[in-house]
Amino acid sequence: MQTTPTLRRTALYAEHLALGARMVPFAGFEMPVQYAGILKEHDAVRERAGLFDLSHMAQFELWGEGAAAWADTLTVNAVATMKPFQARYNLFCNESGGTLDDVLFYRLPDRLLLVCNAANADKMWQWLTAHAVPEVGLISHHGSRALIALQGPRAAEILAPFADIDVAALKYYFCAEAAVDGVAAVIARTGYTGEDGYELFVSGEEAPALWRRLLDAGRPLGLEPAGLGARDMLRLEAGMPLYGFELGEDLSPLAGGQRWAVKLDKPEFVGKAALAAQAAADDFSRIAGFVMDGRVPARTGYPVFLDGRRVGEVRSASFSPSYGGRNIGTALVEKAAAAEGGVLGVEVRGAVHGAHVVPLPFYKRPK
């Protein structure tokens, strides 16, 4: 007999129901996939602003003076060189160079805040604690702290009246400890949509009231709640990887298009030797962006061909309003098939449809 574990709920669960969200299981949580509709929410974020509940993601804290140096031994990008209040993208690998997770670090004055993918929360906590050293304190706030993302060209305008700091002046990929609507928060100018925006770290108890106040204030400016469906479409258009699709234990940061984040000149980190060898050989299958020539969409898992030979498969795919209503995607393909401008075939229900390799990202926000 097998019992299905019940799904966890974030602090904002009741808000989503009240807004008529369609809830789905995601990484062990019951999360909103959409409210008014994925395309409407996508357009809201690109044109005005969207509000996302990301409280299912894992928030960990690393305490102690040695925390950054310790984190450097477990990650591919540099942590110790982060400036105070800087945010930086990074990846944890295993000894084979496979990706354990892609993350964001936030360097606060007395601690490092580490945000991991919800699907990897347990795995990452076990990895961190297995490599723990006495000088570095580790705390998990997974499930107790909330994370609200406000993303879009009007995000700064909507947030400004609520914050006791000048949010417009907050630099991109930097954060601040501040109050939002009187509530203690870390405000970060980061996001996963390709638009300007902020991520607000607050306590779970205070999140629902903040969510409601932001929505009420933002609605007249075009703010809409946005779910995981829109989030996935937005991040794909922005060329951002999603763990399990462009990155994974079988997809190193090099294969996943994140070579820029791998600092092979760091003295030592888990996976360094494997990644150095992989980089030197440079013969691995890798992620390439593509656009379908016609109207038929690609889907995850569809076979990809080059000159009639199977060379890989589709990883992420979506209709793309921001790429002219074309059908875009990423494919994991042999090196030869990843060349920009290359002609590919994508098999859809037994028929091969034409596609072209294009550089990522598909969409860049206007300056």
Binding site: V33, G37, L39, G229, R295, V296, R299, N327
Partner: protein, 130 residues
């Protein structure tokens, strides 16, 4: 024997309207709402002969591909020309402008077999909704 008037429904959430020996087919409002934003519709070809209940095309939304099972058999005489450029029409007008295809029904008297009346379809939807 009188031809069925009004719409008949399938368990797969398609509707059909029979007028003489022509049946128009579409998906229901429940179906379009469940699917979400429709981005592509693959329809049978004009001239293709369909077997009742066979899988004859797909409706693709942002998040999923859904098979289309024809509630009626017969020869396809027309497909909706608007859907290639505007698949979202199926979301906006599932019973009107978003119709999918029309068939010439070989045996109009047998169309209702295996299909649900509006009341029975309403009951099916009410059961499924939670």
């Amino acid at each position: 024997m009188a031809q069925p008037e009004g719409l008949l429904y399938s368990k797969e959430h398609e509707w059909t309207k029979v007028e003489g020996d022509t049946a128009t087919v579409g998906i229901t409002d429940y179906a379009q709402n469940s699917l979400g934003d429709i981005v592509y519709v693959e329809l049978p070809r004009v001239g293709q002969v369909l077997s009742k209940h066979a899988s004859i095309g797909v409706v693709e939304s942002v998040k999923a591909v859904s098979d289309l099972f024809t509630p009626v058999g017969g020869e396809v005489i027309e497909i909706n020309p608007s859907l290639e450029a505007d698949p979202a029409l199926v979301n906006r007008e599932p019973f009107a402008g978003g119709w999918l295809y029309k068939v010439r029904v070989a045996d109009p008297g047998s169309v209702a077999e295996g299909l649900l009346s509006p009341a029975d379809y309403d009951a099916l939807v009410a059961e499924g909704a939670h």
